[in-house]
Amino acid sequence: MTQLFEYAPAPESRSIVDVAPSYGLFVDGEFVDGSGEPMKTVNPATEEVLSEVAVGTDADVDRAVRAARRAFTRVWGPMRPADRGKYLFRIARLLQERAREFAVLESLDNGKPIRESRDVDVPLAAAHFFYHAGWADKLEYAGHGPDPRPHGVAGQVIPWNFPLLMLAWKVAPALATGNTVVLKPAETTPLTALLFAEVCRQADLPPGVVNVVTGAGETGRAVVEHADVDKVAFTGSTEVGRSIARAVAGTRKVLTLELGGKAANIVFDDAPIDQAVEGIVRGIFFNQGHVCCAGSRLLVQENVHDEVVASLQRRIGTLRVGDPLDKNTDIGAINSAEQLARIRELSEIGEAEGAHRWQPACDLPDRGYWFPPTVFTDVSPAHRIARDEVFGPVLSVLTFRTPDEAVAKANNSTYGLSAGVWTEKGSRILAITDRLRAGVVWANTFNQFDPTSPFGGYKQSGYGREGGRQGLAAYLRSTHP
């Protein structure tokens, strides 16, 4: 075990955040009671109840959709595009001003390290609003026809892994293109969406343009199935995506899906091993592995397998697991007891099927939901840990000998969201990325995101793109061409 320096605790203060004892729904510019039985949201690092949050029923969702429709027809649709853009710029600035508050709240509610919520989630969320703000009055240049129109009311359901960032990915393009929104945040991580609702008020965004209806699966279903929703956007599991695609079948609703993944991260023998190891760590342990595009299948060229695995294990031994609010923390808490159970179950299946489990010596806190960084070696492509999305800090290592074999193994998945390629040879990067059936390919890097860069999957990882000019298509009814 690598000798770690003793770091003094460096916790971020939570005093910047006022967590209210209870929250309502945000409908038509007001916080209102929900008709459902309220739910509790907990800090997954301590199991402390943070707050009680309203649960929206069909009737609440109906109210929100009506508000969104009214706002679309009376205010947001007719508004000068430049003014719509200015509202988005305002929101971007407010997110930047309140960045620390959002980061602390996100880490409290989600369990992710403050280092990531502070340096990735919140700045990227602001960047998404900033980027899309500029599109609002330039849509005729976006390549979706000369007079592209919004769909109307967008119903959006987002996951718990990047609560604020996924909100930004959904809300910013919807608003920039002139749609209004009913957003259903994840059951376990509603708090930053509710703080965002407050930001909408602070920005004087007209009532009804953004509505936030909290709740669990039933609330999401009500949003997706509401007859007056024109566009549905979902990020989450392939299983739920499938049921949503069934639910909108035969309707006029436009649908985009960002679903699961099982990304191959391919390391050739000429790759700079130290950099590759950093990339592998970033690929699978970023956000506790709660990342749909996580590099969860490591494909290593056989002749460097032992070297890569040894170096990887040495590096993993230095990762600090623990208090998400500590600025030294690399890996925070698993988001929920349910998710922890799934990670444990799949890991046990991994061992039962004959793969070899390795975990560093690492002290985990007594309370909260924790899972140490884990590497499985001797994995075969048929093993469930090589096929199923674990959505946790669990890496499966497979080997290959030739580029053809690497491509075949990488593409041997029902998913096709992302992939990684590590090699010093430029022509090989281009040849391999050409042949990978995945929507995002990171070469000699991993898990990079930017609002100008479209993101989305092939195959059962979903359809539609988010970000960039291509991402706008989801929110526009293109006239012609």
Binding site: G143, R246, L257, A443, G456, K459, G468, Q470
Partner: protein, 288 residues
């Protein structure tokens, strides 16, 4: 003088570059718009549809990785060969759709021209739909459109040639391979198009034509795990919703049917290509 006895035709499927009979042995009589006998067509079965998917999947690698320049030339060649069969197409379109000679000729002209139009798109899609993304960091980051894979097409029921070309050519131009269920009542222009394709440098399996019943074959294709996308343009209206639901099982891309069969002479824009394209984004660090 005794009249020459006509040679009656029994057509077969076009599948994997060959012309097999239906595995089921079934055929059905094709009549003109007044009910007069025209020919016998193969009545494709579920097994034929599955064979067609296998052929389309096998051809996908070659076709999708051919250069755009090459694909464009092959598609242009289809137009050239179609032009050579102009009279035959006119006759079949007129008989099947009940059009006057002049209107049938206009439809065939438009179909050939439509093919030429799509032939010219192969090497422009990347420039029009792709992008260099100015990300906030030291990265070279670009996005390119790529074909989604095997597309199952339920061809329009009314417009037997122009409609067929309008739904098939965009699938090919964007680099996909196709399994097409032709118009049930008016399959002959599709059969002739198969003969054109077979002699036009289009690799076997890139296009597979199933004469038969969309209502019967549609569910198998919509449900098939190795079909990446489905175009429901010619689906029976009462069945379209069920087909879309079946397609959800494997997260297929779905092009929904229009409320009614559109005016195929209108400029289609990109609307029939983009549903069958993925966007791939590639990141690489910049540094010295």
């Amino acid at each position: 003088m005794s009249e020459r006895l006509a040679v009656r035709k029994t057509f077969k499927l076009y599948l994997g570059g060959a012309f097999p009979r239906s595995e089921s042995g079934r055929t059905y009589a094709v009549t003109d718009h007044r009910g007069g006998f025209l020919a016998n067509a193969a009545h494709a079965s579920r097994k034929d549809a599955r064979d067609a998917v296998v052929a389309a999947r096998a051809a996908f690698g070659t076709w999708s990785r051919a250069t755009a320049y090459n694909r464009g030339q092959v598609l242009y060649r289809v137009a050239e060969v179609m032009e050579g069969r102009h009279a035959q197409f006119c006759e079949e379109v007129a008989a099947g759709e009940g059009l006057s000679a002049g209107r049938a000729r206009a439809a065939v002209d438009a179909a050939v021209d439509r093919w030429v139009w799509y032939a010219g798109w192969t090497d422009k899609l990347a420039a029009v739909l792709g992008s260099a993304n100015p990300v906030a960091g030291p990265f070279f980051d670009f996005s390119l459109p790529e074909p989604t894979g095997v597309v199952a097409v339920l061809a329009p029921q009314r417009s037997s040639l122009l409609g067929l070309v309008s739904v098939l050519a965009p699938v090919l131009a964007s680099g996909n391979t196709a399994v097409v269920v032709t118009s049930r009542e008016r399959p002959l222009p599709a059969v002739t198009l198969g003969e054109v394709l077979a002699t036009s440098d289009v690799p076997g399996g890139v296009v597979n034509l199933l004469t038969g019943d969309a209502a019967e074959l549609g569910p198998w294709l919509a449900e098939h795990d190795d079909v990446d996308a489905v175009d429901l343009t010619g689906a029976p209206p009462a069945q379209a919703m069920e087909l879309e639901r079946l397609a959800a099982g494997s997260i297929k891309r779905v092009l929904r049917p229009p409320a009614e069969e559109p005016d195929w002479s209108a400029d289609p824009g990109l609307s029939r290509m983009t549903p069958f394209l993925e966007t791939k984004t590639v990141w690489h660090p910049k540094g010295v």
